[in-house]
Symmetry: C2
Subunit: 198 residues, 2 copies
């Protein structure tokens, strides 16, 4: 599942890159056009992207833009023979991980791809944690969410009761439901969970 996706309309280059990476034990998938990859892309597509800039049809840059607007966070490395400073600067400022001109150094490129794959794996791990958190948050009712926010803001139960215009007892009930659903035992743990601390 996690692999390097090479998008280039030149089959010879795809093959050469495929050989290079497979010889280094990096799994590879080749795509003959931006359209083909865009069509196949799913939010759970993992790994990293090696994009040629100039291709028949959709360019690598446009593919990058389309992927970004779909919420894709995979690291992208651009590969081009026709380098141009404004293009490189624009791509990097949009979040591309690297921008490499041909001819490139094989070892360097492989290292950068491996770095990018590691980054993607870590990022997905973080996001998986966040997804579990989001799932638990989704089980809270409105009222529980309100109470939770005030608890995490450091308010005492009696203050929360005042602010929401309900009794302290009710706050306690909601509070304990929040703790149960979020699987924590103290307000501090809940705070760490929501603020994303170690």
């Amino acid at each position: 599942m996690t692999m390097l996706h090479i998008v280039d309309d030149d089959e010879a280059i795809r093959d050469a890159l495929g050989w290079l990476f497979q010889s280094r034990n990096v799994p590879v998938a080749g795509w003959p056009s931006a359209e083909a990859f865009l069509e196949a892309w799913r939010p759970d597509t993992a790994g990293c992207l090696l994009l040629d800039i100039r291709m028949e049809g959709m360019s690598g840059l446009e593919l990058f833009d389309r992927l970004l607007s779909k919420g894709c966070r995979m690291p992208v490395i651009f590969l081009t023979g026709h380098g141009d400073v404004p293009i490189a600067v624009g791509a990097l400022k949009k979040g591309a991980r690297d921008f490499v001109e041909k001819p490139f150094n094989d070892n360097e490129l492989v290292d950068r791809v491996i770095d990018a794959l590691g980054f993607d794996a870590e990022q997905r791990e973080r996001e998986a944690g966040q997804a579990g958190l989001a799932a638990r948050l989704a089980t809270l009712t409105q009222r529980e969410r309100q109470v939770m926010e005030l608890v995490v803001a450091g308010r005492l139960n009696k203050v929360i009761a005042d602010e929401l215009g309900i009794s302290m007892r009710t706050v306690e009930v909601h509070r304990s439901h929040v703790f149960e659903k979020m699987r924590v035992k103290t307000a501090v743990e809940l705070t760490r969970l929501l603020t994303g601390a170690s």
Copy 2:
């Protein structure tokens, strides 16, 4: 204090850029060489940097490296007439904010400089807050710091007492000293303070 620092060995360009920015109400300081700016730079120098790449003596890139190693976090915009993709990519990956080729569009450059100045101001505000926090942390004794860490980890006083091999009462004393010194009233507030939450 906060201003645009233009480093370029060509006096005509410094003057032209000076005029451009001053006409837009952006305060400017001109420096005839990387060495001159490096000499004058202090950790509290605020604003942003507009660096020419190719200069007599130290290059803009080398100045950038030297500033980074001194802990400078000012946003840097490179300006060059002799663009080169690997150089631009390297600069951006090291953290440069932008890389602009001459001839440039006046309005765009001014906008980017203004953005960068705003970014620097926000960054300094954040760091000022962190500095105040660090100062308060420095007033804690060893024991207080230990207790604080366990409190922020969500442990109950009795557990902290066990782990440190002291009585609960002593933990309470340290705990209240921590709250006092850190100027918070609850463990949750302390947690937010240390984990850098909103």
